[in-house]
Each structure stands twice: as C-alpha cells, then as structure tokens.
Symmetry: C2
Subunit: 428 residues, 2 copies
Amino acid sequence: MQPYREMSREELLKEKKTLEVEYKKFQNRGLKLDMSRGKPSQEQLDLSMGMMDVLSPYSDLTCEDGTDCRNYGVLDGIAEAKVLLGDMIECNPDNIIIYGNSSLNIMYDTISRSMTNGVMGNTPWCKLDKVKFLCPVPGYDRHFAITEYFGIEMINVPMLPTGPDMDIVEELVAKDEAIKGIWCVPKYSNPQGITYSDETVRRFARLKPAAKDFRIYWDNAYCVHHLYDIDQDHLIEILAECKRAGNPDMVYKFCSTSKISFPGSGVAAIAASANNLVDIRQQLKIQTIGHDKVNQLRHVRFFKDIHGITEHMKKHAASMRPKFEMIVNLFEQELKGLEVGTWYTPKGGYFITYETLDGCAKNVVAKAQKAGVVMTPAGAPFPYGKDPRDSVIRISPSFPCLEDLTMAAQIFVVCVKLASIEKFLEME
Amino acid sequence: MQPYREMSREELLKEKKTLEVEYKKFQNRGLKLDMSRGKPSQEQLDLSMGMMDVLSPYSDLTCEDGTDCRNYGVLDGIAEAKVLLGDMIECNPDNIIIYGNSSLNIMYDTISRSMTNGVMGNTPWCKLDKVKFLCPVPGYDRHFAITEYFGIEMINVPMLPTGPDMDIVEELVAKDEAIKGIWCVPKYSNPQGITYSDETVRRFARLKPAAKDFRIYWDNAYCVHHLYDIDQDHLIEILAECKRAGNPDMVYKFCSTSKISFPGSGVAAIAASANNLVDIRQQLKIQTIGHDKVNQLRHVRFFKDIHGITEHMKKHAASMRPKFEMIVNLFEQELKGLEVGTWYTPKGGYFITYETLDGCAKNVVAKAQKAGVVMTPAGAPFPYGKDPRDSVIRISPSFPCLEDLTMAAQIFVVCVKLASIEKFLEME
C-alpha cells in the first residue's frame, strides 16, 4: 500500500474517484448508525436484567448492620456497598462515600461546592479573580463542560502514550496558584484508551502545587472495563500513592457502575482522604438526607462481591471485544499503509480515537454524517470544543451491533481516505 | 381543670410532686422512643413492597415513546412519570423536570445554581454583597440549613393560621432587592400542619418583589398526605395562580414520593414556568446525563396513575390517623384546661406542633429525653436554631407504633406540665 503523500496528483484523483463511487453506494443505502456516545448496547443491558428480581416483595431489605434500606438515613452509603465499590476501585471502604446514579453529578457537585464554599477551609473559588484547571487533551467533553460552566479557565496539556505530559503538569501547578485541579481519566482513557504509566501516577502523587486546594480529579470510570481477562492494563492506586508521597488530601477519585449495571440506574461514589471526606460530608448533609439505599442494596445482592463484578465484566468484554478488534483490524488493513492518521489499540474502556492528518477531523465527521453515521462532533474532546489541529475523532463502538458497526467503520475508513486525499490535493 | 396560672404556690408544688412521681415511673422503665424526625413507620414502608416486583427480568423496560429506560439519555424524566407527578401536584407535565430521589437535593441545587450562575440571566448571588431569604417560622429545619450553608441571611416571618403573615412578606419583598426567595411548605406545613388559605396563595402570586430574580420556594411535600378521605385541606395551585397574576416565573414548586413510596428511593421533581425550565436545563445538562429512569418507570408501573396514588395514600392515612388523633385527644384531655400551650389539629402531613409557654420548649425536650423520648431539638424549626420565644416543639408521630407513641405522648404531657409549673414557680 502506497502512502498518499507519495502519490502523484493523478494517482490521488483516480483514487478519489474510486472512493467517491464507494461513498455514494453507502449513501444510497440510507443508513442511520450512531457511534456518537459511549452507550452500552442492548445486549450489554440484557446482562443486568437479573437485577430486576434480586429484591422481591418478600425480601428482607435490611443491611447487615440492621439499617432498613427503605427508610431515611445513612448519609454516605450502606456499609456493604462501600465494601463492594472499595474492592472495585482498590480503596478502603472507609474512604468512600456512595452517592446517587452518576459520577458526573458527583464531579459537578464537587466543583460547585468548591466554588461556593471552598475546599477544606480555603477561600471559595467564586471569591477569587481567576480559577484554572488543567485539561489533558484529548479528554472527556463532559468534564470540560463542567469547568466551562463555572467560568473556570481551561489549559490544554498534551496526552502522551504514558498519560498527560507530566513535565508540563509539574511546572504549571508549581508556579500558578490559580490552578485548582486537573481532569484525569487514568485508565483506558476517554477518548484514547490510554492507561497512565506507573511513572505518571507516581509523579502525580508527588506534585507540589502552589495552591493548597489543588486536587487531582481522578475519574476512574473504566476501572474494571477490560477487554481481556489476562492482558489487562494496570494502574497504580492513586489514593495510596498520594498517601505514601505525603500528599494524602490531593486527590478525589470517582467511579460508578454506570457501564457495569444500567447507565442512569447504577451507583456512583467518591473516594478520598479522611480530611476530604469530613469536608465533603459537611456539605452533603445539607444537600440530602441520603441517596438511594435500596438501589445500593440491589447492586450488592446482585453482584455479591468483587468476584461477581469480575465475572459480570467478562460478559461485557465478550460483547465489546469483537467490536474493538474489528475496528482496529480494519484500520490496520485499510489505513495504516496510507499514513493518514494514528490510533492506539486500547485494552479496555469505551473508545478508540482516530487521529487524522491536521485539519481533516471535521471533514471526516461531516462526510460520515452525510452517509448516515453519527460520530461525536470533531472538537468535542477539547476544552471549548476547539481541537487546535482539527485531527481528533472519538469512536464509540459499543452501541451498534457488530454488523452495523462494521458497516459504520467501513464508511468511516472511506471518509478518512477521502478527506485525506482532499487535503493533499489542496496542499498542491 | 384549673389553669396553672390560677393556682397558688402550694397547689403548684403539690401538683409538681405528683407529676414527679409519675415522671420517675416513666424514667424507671428505661424507654427508648424516637419522635425526632418525620420518618414513616415500618407498617407504612411495607405498603410499598409491591414495588419490588413490578419490574422483573422479563419486563419490557421501554417507555411508551420507545425509550429504553436502562440506558443513558432523557435529561428531564420519562413522559409517563411527568404525567403521574403532574397529576399529583396539579401541573402540566410539560412544566415538570424529574430528578433523583430527593426534593431537598433539588432545592439545594436550585440555590447552589443561583449562587454560582444566577437566575435567568441575573447576577449570580455569589457576586452580590448580600442575599436574604424570608423564612416563615416555625418552618423546616433542612430548608434553613441550606440557606445558612450558603451564607444567605434569613429573616423570620411569623406563621398565622392562614400561612405566613402576608402583610410582612409583601412589604419586605417590595422594598429589599436583596431578598431573593421565601421558603414555603404550603400544605400541611412542617411543623404546624397549616395549609395556606386561598387569600394567602393569591397574595403570594401577586407579590411585587424588588428583585427580578426573587422566587417562591414552594415545597409541596405533603400534597397528597391527607389523614381523611373527605375532610381534606385544599390548596390553590400556585403555578397557575402566578400565571393568572402575570407572574409566571416567580415560583419553583418541589415535590417527591419520599413519603409515598420509599424515603430515599423515591422520585422527586421540580415544576416551574417554561422560562425557568429552560434556565434549569442549561445547568442540569452539565450536571448529569440523566436521573434514574428505571426507578421512574418502577413508580409508574406500580401506581399506574393518580388514582393509584390516592388509593395508596388512604393506606398511609389509615396508619397515621390513629396516631394524630391519639395525640390531639390527649392534649385536649390533659393540657387544654391547664392553659399551658397551644396546637393546631392538622388534617394531614407529618407533624403536630406544640407551642409551650414562653421559655419552656428546651426544658420540655430535655425532660422528655431524660425519660427516653427523643424529640426534634427545640429551636430546630427556626433559622440558626434560635426560637426567640423558646416555645415551639415539633412532634413527629409517624415512626413509633401506636402503643409506643401513646407512651411517648403521655411522657411528653407530663414533661409539659412539669416545665410549665417550674416556670410559674420561678416567676413568683
């Protein structure tokens, strides 16, 4: 396969013609395929239907400690749910507060609380002239939407194959007291599928931020979302590492069962140091009497323990793995030799990122849309929706069935080829 | 029965001695009874156990519009849940956003949003020198805790048998732009059980606040929580009344099923004008992908419609009514003739308020505690926990069984008598 950059104008025009015929064919089929968001497929949702009768009208809905889960009370979650999620994210249950259905909601509330009432006695951010956040890019659009909503200035930090560029992170947090946090998806990152290296995590734990209320926002969304049973990425546990490094209070860790049980009907949690949890509970007790304990109990009774989650996640993996492999294989076959972009091969998570030649991402997404394939908008994985190189495209393989996804991936490949040729032709 | 104030010192001392013997007897029984919070009893919780199998592993968990409730999506609640709650609070379903399990959480988030990002384009409250709230007293302690947490100055407004003193409310909101809201529990109020009169509601809807972003916080917590099937209080629907009065945007209305299905595992909602909902959704879409739709569906399938809720609430009433009647009857028999306090006789809700002679409430609560009866702390129904006359005691009859409650009420009566006598003896 000859790289496009080495082709003559005539060769490119010929290739373009062939591709346009192929593209038209796809268009004529009037497809409607959605690869825009990390939504589980129906097949995956069916895996958790057993949750629907794990509690019955004849069940005893009391916890091990005698708490009636049906009534008010228990601000920070039932003990057995803390054990379950603690095992899942490798934290002491005592360091966990269980919330409602959404870790995004916890992150939002965490920033909101910092705005209005400050972090562990420090000045509320709304009283400061300037608040800034570091944003490893590409990253999760909903993270960036939160900081944007609160008027927090976002600073891009490049992602490397090892995680965020720690030289830049270390330098920025040390010199700028206005930098109050950094968004991280440390395992099978959204959108690239990168897991932070041991060195990266150790350097995170040893940061020397100028701001006393600087926190690492560690969104461990894909902690158990492996594609393989043995060939898994390993991530160093950040709370323990921060403690070892003498920075126990520097991190908030977030997780949920959204992509384990049902999105929207799962259980979410924050893990942090004892000092942070005292601070958080001060606010939480004002905000609510407590979260949904019956649903916490439902999760505990369904999964039983971490082994139950592990076994359950194997079933998710069996559904996801062929989709990831199909896409990566197709890219290897169809795109690698053309030298028109790059990608990582994730071992878990929900996304594959295709990085086009500079200036092609919007064009690819637009072309795909016109052929009936809805992708995440180009630019979305960047603060303010601005991809400086217009090159990053997030692919979400989970929702469509394998057959539809294969079609969508083929269309995507044609769109990448076309957009790349158009770029080379324009450059001449 | 001779009023204490007409008794001689000797008569009072004699009565005191008799009461102390009675009090000692109760103390010696080593009771542990909890009348501190408005928690449903186990008998009431059992009424909703049918919710636990209304959805099964073989159920179709899609909405009428085809939405799969198990997956992400639907920011503001499934349509059939909006209809159900809309019928419950007499609002158009289009004016409703369904949230998670807690209306308190919605109220907190509403204030928090107003602090950080303002109300419908007005200056965020955190940028203002001063923000104030009107607080009809006695009121709900958790309301006051929210405004206190955000540093909002609270101004007491006396409750009358018709609701808040509207002369004062009208005057204050008209002259002070810093007043941004008023806390209301308009039906079977917490803690007195008062329902706002038609005139009160109409005057609310016709307020002329100096602040454009003034909102009535209408916590309709006990909208269907009647004790009787025919003899019910009626409350004018505030959204419609505000619209009629030309003030459609002036009110947020809150509700939940916390005391209908399971506290902590119910469904909560806000109702407001279209303009307000646009404003709220702008923030909500940043905070979450959506709330628990499976639980929304569970509620819809269990109750089916508003008639289902009405029938269900009759069962709650059957459990609550004897408790309310026992207490009121005991007060009538034991306390009325002594002229040592006053109370309303609620036709619904969760509370009875006993108003002691000035300066006796703390003493009564302390005495009850020492005899094994935990009451809501005196002062709790007031901003900053300060009851200026030290006279209001909130009684929560729901949680104990009737037998225990009867004992607790008898102890309470003895404590009221003793504290009143002590007051008269001190006055001499």
